[in-house]
Symmetry: C2
Subunit: 213 residues, 2 copies
DNA sequence: CTCATTTATGAGAGTTTCCTCATTTTTGTT
DNA sequence: AACAAAAATGAGGAAACTCTCATAAATGAG
């Protein structure tokens, strides 16, 4: 079982010294507040009072909101990529890897709606975050191309197109039903040059094998 | 040509009464300010001083920033759709229509970088704007499906996926080079079920016939 | 338990923004 | 030119926010 649901950072620091526990409280609180009213609109006081702390406490830990966002986004990215990559080392078929990764990302968004919302918005405030997060995707794309399954050039626009398809799913259906997930996976495969029929079969196959249709 | 050489609203109200001209000044100023620092971060004073007006003048015209954004977005949407649809009535091939519309939208974004930026961000603040703007796209998609060229269901997620691909292009390459435009058009066609080869030929054909390769 | 160290607190100074409205300026008609 | 209507102005009260810092409370090692 991955770390429990609602307090990503608190669970990581249980039993540690007070300093780390309070920092985690701020980080978890920031996830909720950023997801709820957006990064721009969130005030320091929103975050501290949601964590049941005083306004001044924030400044014992961070210089400003942007620094906090960096930590939040890095933490979410780490957890999300860990969940996606779990038990995928033996899978060596590019299209299956891309499909499973996309579906798992969106399933995670179903279980933790705030995480992906915050993470995707962070990408635009912290551009350098993207390159680190996205390296696994690049590898899987290259694998699929090498295997002759994909017809595409791995460039930065293609990466952004895939992220955009994921963002579209999140905006349109935050509850992230399986229909939305499947349509998004098929869209990614189509974008990579697979035919509609093959894309659909690929998605059905991955759902049957890994995600319980 | 630097941004905002053209004044969308001012040009529409030249020679009218003062009230309309000042309103247009506010609207044009809002485009620049929203595009420059974002809707959320823009203050009323930012907008009025960019228009060389006093802060209080704003409130003679609008109750708040959101009302202003509505007018701005509606005006941009009207102008952009008019440009896209120009001389397209005789074109009755679904894929060509979709390709040409996408390319024209992105060419407009090249000429007026601020417009599409503001318009796309508005979609998320004003959801009901989208349905009106997007009806032409729906028709072209249905045409392509009826002609057997597209393999897709026209649902709201598909529409959002297409808009997301456009947004990805805008974020990644605001200068909107032809390479970006072509890759985006091909991505849209792939998403609609066309093969990579056919998509590329389709895009090249439209560029040759309508956009001067 | 003691007490030095670490952490939390929240009042308050300084900014920024929103929005109002009494007043001034401009406009356009007679 | 005179004048009423329309439009523009910007000072200022209220509210929200940021960040500091002197003080209080909590922590944990001996």
């Amino acid at each position: 079982m991955p770390p429990s649901v609602h307090h990503l950072f608190r669970d990581q620091t249980a039993g540690m010294k007070k300093r780390e526990r309070t920092r985690s409280a701020l980080l978890d609180s920031a996830i909720s507040v950023f997801a709820g009213k957006g990064y721009e609109a969130a005030s320091i006081t929103d975050i501290t009072s949601h964590a049941a702390l005083a306004n001044g406490t924030f400044y014992n830990y961070y210089q400003g909101k942007d620094e906090l966002l960096r930590d939040v986004a890095a933490g979410i990215a780490e957890e999300v990529t860990a969940r996606i990559n779990e038990d995928m080392t033996e899978l060596d078929h590019g299209p299956s890897r891309v499909t499973l990764a996309t579906a798992r990302l969106l399933r995670t968004a179903r279980a933790e709606p705030e995480w992906l919302k915050v993470l995707l918005n962070s990408v635009f405030v912290i551009p350098e975050l993207q390159s680190a997060t996205v390296q696994y995707l690049r590898q899987d794309l290259e694998m699929g191309i090498g295997q002759g399954h994909f017809t595409a050039n791995v460039n930065v626009l293609l990466i952004n197109q895939i992220l955009s398809l994921i963002r579209a799913a999140l905006l349109l259906d935050p509850a992230m039903g399986d229909a939305t997930i499947k349509q998004t996976c098929e869209a990614v495969l189509r974008l990579l040059g697979q035919s509609p029929v093959k894309s659909q079969k690929q998605v059905d196959d991955v759902f049957r094998r890994f995600l319980g249709d």
